[in-house]
Amino acid sequence: MHKQRTNALVRFYHKLGSPPSFYRISGYFLKWLLLLAIGLTTWGLYDGLVLAPADYQQGDSFRIIYVHVPAAWMSMFIYAVMGVCGVIALIWRMKIAEAVMLASAPIGAWFTVIALVTGSLWGKPMWGTWWEWDARMTSELILLFLYIGIMATYSAFSEDTRKAARMAALIAIVGVFNVVIIHYSVQWWSSIHQGSTVSLTGKQNITWDMLRPLLFMAFATKFYYGYSMLKRARIYLLETESNKRWVQDIIMEKKS
């Protein structure tokens, strides 16, 4: 009995880690992820832009947090995912981990850009300037540089995709350490310089009606990330395993 159970676990691990299984299994989820993403985004935006009460200090301009905050959360969440994948890819050389990491990078970068742009748009009515160097925005900008660094590393090693992926994984791991240090150093810097600016997400008492759309958007972005990442990861696997049997089989299936 015990032997059967461990065998099943080992088999499950191997199944998950093999590109053909990953490709097949992820294919089932794509449709649902997209539907959930679209559905939750639509509801979340409606809830946040229409249903939620206006803030008594900022009026309607605060509503941009329903895009800004989820985007910022995703920019950090995706980076953490990339860090974990980087470790798995580097130590255990799992192709899937490489695929997920590289697929996530552009998505995370875009979320970072959205967070920066929406943060800037929010800042204009708040402080009157298009940009302020407060702790969060500065950290977010540096995070964008880290994303660019990973993508630039991957594309620099254009002749050898295996080497490119491993280098990118190393940079992702170094970056995770760096993100922590940057977060604390920028916070320290911001505190001693005591800028006249108020932090973007200052302490406000947030009511359930204001919080609810935020949660919807948080889930919506996660599903969107799942959809987009799996899509890109599948393409990466097809490209890098193009000489393997399972890819040839899929191409034959599509043709017939």
Partner: protein, 221 residues
């Protein structure tokens, strides 16, 4: 002779013969520092205000000039194999390379900094902290640079990529280093940023050599 010392000795000999690694950053600093009074006006008060930050930024930019040389030459002529294909731990050899780089490029920056300080009217009370902060900070430049150099050593045009990778790593160093000099010039204590800077240095010594060693191994695959 221990491999560590042999590697340092070799690199110092090379550096003293090439000399460019030593004087390039200094010449760069002189050229660029001239632009500040030319751009801002020679008012002593303005210059004194920006001096701490500018000296640190100049040190950072000057370091960027020589960072790729930590490993690029060794990769190009194949001598990197001498410290990879040996039972002597690669992270230790990396440490030797970083030490040599700092002695040739970083230490001169520290010793040259008072001259830049004079040119920018840095308050006289700040010179001690200036040199101390650079003494702790410039080795961290070399450490962070070693990762970038190890990664880009096989690339023909790796300069921009090295800068993209290294800048986020150097940001905390700049924050703490410049703050130390700013604080002392305002008459406050610089001990907190200096301690934080030292913490970064210790963290670098313990972790960075392994990352750079990994980058070298991946590059040689």
């Amino acid at each position: 002779m221990k491999p560590f010392l042999a590697l340092v000795k070799r690199d110092l000999t090379l550096g003293l013969r090439r000399k460019s690694q030593i004087y390039q950053p200094l010449v760069f600093q002189l050229l660029v520092v001239t632009m500040f009074p030319l751009g801002l006006g020679s008012g002593a008060r303005t210059l004194a205000l920006i001096a701490p930050a500018v000296i640190w930024i100049l040190a950072l930019l000057a370091s960027l000039l020589t960072l790729d040389q930590i490993f690029k030459n060794d990769y190009d002529d194949g001598s990197v194999e001498s410290y990879v294909l040996t039972s002597y731990p690669l992270p230790l050899s990396v440490l030797a390379k970083i030490l040599s780089h700092w002695l040739l490029s970083g230490l001169p920056l520290v010793l040259f900094s008072p001259i830049i300080g004079v040119l920018l009217h840095l308050p006289s009370s700040s010179y001690g902290v200036l040199m101390l902060s650079l003494l702790i900070g410039t080795p961290i430049f070399s450490f962070m640079g070693s990762i970038g150099s190890a990664l880009t050593m096989s690339l023909k045009h790796g300069g921009l990529l090295l800068t993209i990778l290294v800048m986020p790593l150097l940001t905390p160093v700049l924050i703490f280093g410049a703050s130390a000099v700013v604080e002392i010039s305002l008459g406050n204590s610089a001990s907190q940023p200096l301690l934080l800077l030292s913490g970064l240095l210790i963290l670098s010594i313990t972790l960075i050599p392994f990352a750079a060693a990994a980058a070298i191994k991946i590059n040689l695959e």
